[in-house]
């Protein structure tokens, strides 16, 4: 994997002097993605759903082609299982709002979830009086599988993140699937931090629903993906209603369209689908295994450097269980101040609670600094970050 060559593909790195380590929030876009969107606008743009004119036919085909590429990327059974929404958050809201859950039904989620896989369930607790169980982390700051096993008893739904956006841990989805099977639970996976960095195979992982966002994997912001097993999607009620999602409408009733259109009301983000397609083609060309390996090397360098400086960081100590990000804190300096100092040094990281308030409370920290890598980052980026932290600590004499 030639990182220097990859970096060349990203115009922003030629135009701006910045070490970009905020990839968990969103990633930069390669020229291939930018060009494909421009080409679509210049040569093929129209609304989809098979208008009879040539442009609409082309746009419809391109839109469907995008879904086929996504289906292939995660090894779905069919492109009809790929629903386009705005982002991960909307995808999870869609499932939470359409699953037939009733009073007393048990939903299990975890303390390490991003709010987008937490609030939809928390709200159902109020609205439908579901029973919500929240699985804890253990002393290793990994998901407590014993706690999960206990709490999952007779659960209707287990909703868990693939990779924690604060701890950086990769959850053991195989074991979680086993527990879900024992209880005949539906398994919903928040793939926002997992799918962009790890080879994802929904057949092998046997997830029932998977949500992720294009903007975290080189694609446009504003388009997200909900994968669902066809037979489950068929059973779900419709979500948003209106144009585009129906087969027929009469004065007093409507018949929803076939999958995937049943869940896509209104004109979708067509050029977003085009950009997503190009992004996945880019990632596939580089190879997800290569990306994963490269990122793990960078993360190892980073955690080793943090350990050497006695900087507290969070999540699993086992490098094999970690993905592309590390959150940390320097004693005596608030995360925001660290991030601002790094900004002066042209290093972009994120500070705050990363939409994970319950987890920060659980870790008993007011905030954290998060550095996250992607395929275009290199060792020099990590060394620059570690050097800047060293200098900050030295200057403040703490």
């Amino acid at each position: 994997m030639d990182v220097a060559k990859i970096k060349e593909d990203f115009p922003i790195f030629k135009k701006r002097k910045i070490i970009y380590l905020d990839n968990a929030a969103s990633t930069q876009k390669p020229i291939q993605v930018i060009n494909e969107i421009v080409d679509f606008y210049e040569n093929h743009y129209s609304n989809i759903h098979r208008g009879l004119h040539i442009l609409s036919q082309e746009a419809s085909e391109i839109y469907e082609e995008s879904k086929k590429i996504v289906a292939n990327f995660i090894n779905a059974y069919s492109w009809r299982e790929i629903i386009y929404v705005r982002n991960t958050t909307e995808a999870i809201n869609l499932i939470a709002n359409t699953l037939p859950l009733n009073k007393g039904d048990k939903v299990v989620t975890t303390i390490m979830e991003h709010h987008s896989n937490f609030l939809p369930w928390l709200r159902l607790k109020k609205l439908k009086k579901i029973q919500l169980e929240i699985v804890d982390i253990n002393e290793e700051q990994e998901l407590d599988m014993n706690d999960l096993e206990k709490k999952a008893k007779d659960a209707k739904v287990i909703a868990v993140t693939f990779v924690s956006n604060v701890l950086g841990n990769i959850n053991d989805l195989k074991e979680i699937r086993r527990i879900a099977d024992e209880n005949a639970s539906i398994l919903i996976v928040d793939g926002a931090q997992g799918v962009p960095h790890l080879l994802t195979n929904v057949k092998r992982m046997k997830v029932d629903f998977l949500a992720f966002s294009a903007h975290k994997m080189l694609g446009p912001s504003g388009i997200g993906i909900l994968y669902g097993k066809e037979e489950l999607l068929e059973e779900l009620d419709v979500f948003l209603v209106g144009g585009g999602m129906i087969k027929d409408v009469r004065m007093d009733e409507f018949v929803p369209a076939e999958l995937p259109w049943k869940f896509e009301a209104g004109t979708p983000f067509i050029e977003g689908a085009v950009g997503l397609k190009a992004a996945i083609e880019y990632l596939t060309t580089v190879g997800m295994e290569n990306i994963e390996k490269h990122e793990r090397e960078l993360i190892k360098l980073l955690v080793d450097g943090l350990e050497e400086q006695n900087i507290e960081y969070y999540g699993s100590r086992k490098i094999k269980k970690r993905s592309s990000l590390v959150s940390f804190n320097i004693k005596g300096i608030h995360a925001h101040d660290v991030a601002e100092y790094l900004n002066y040094k042209h290093i972009a990281v994120r500070s705050g609670l990363h939409c994970a308030h319950p987890l920060h409370r659980r870790l008993n920290i007011p905030a954290s600094v998060r550095a996250s890598v992607y395929l275009y980052n290199n060792e020099e980026d990590i060394i620059a970050l570690l050097d800047a932290l060293k200098r900050l600590i030295k200057e403040l004499n703490i």
């Binding site: 300096i333 608030h334 995360a335 925001h336 101040d337 601002e340 100092y341 900004n343 002066y344 705050g352 609670l353 990363h354 939409c355 308030h357 920060h360 007011p366 905030a367 200057e395 403040l396």
Partner: protein
């Protein structure tokens, strides 16, 4: 703004509760921040006789709040209510603070203006 200077100045800041405070104001920056401060004020006849603060949060917030406390002591409440954001930032040497940190620096003034019971 010299971040390092501010961070260093922090070591000298003393947070404490004012025992004879007659007004206590709590302010927080919600969402991504979680920062919060409590202002303790002793106000007599519209004059701020004494003030102190406690709180947790980023160092800009702590610095701005300690400067705010320093600034308001002995002043008329009305005078502080009329203080503009820009004047305050200038007063505490943070006129060039970045946009993303504005809410940290302005929290003490905002808390004072919004939470002080109108008499």
């Amino acid at each position: 703004m010299d971040l390092i200077k501010i961070l260093k100045a922090l070591k000298l800041i003393k947070k404490h509760k004012l025992k004879d405070a007659n007004v206590v104001l709590y302010g927080s920056n919600p969402y991504h921040c979680g920062d919060n401060i409590t202002l303790y004020l002793k106000i007599e006849n519209g004059i701020i006789k004494d003030a102190s603060f406690e709180g947790t949060g980023c160092n800009i917030l702590m610095y701005a709040t300690s400067k705010f406390i320093e600034h308001i002591k002995g002043k008329n409440v009305k005078e502080i209510l009329e203080l503009s954001d820009r004047e305050f930032l200038k007063e505490i040497d943070l006129a060039d603070i970045s946009k993303s940190r504005l809410q940290c620096a302005l929290l003490p003034l905002k808390t004072f203006k919004e939470k002080l019971p109108r008499i």
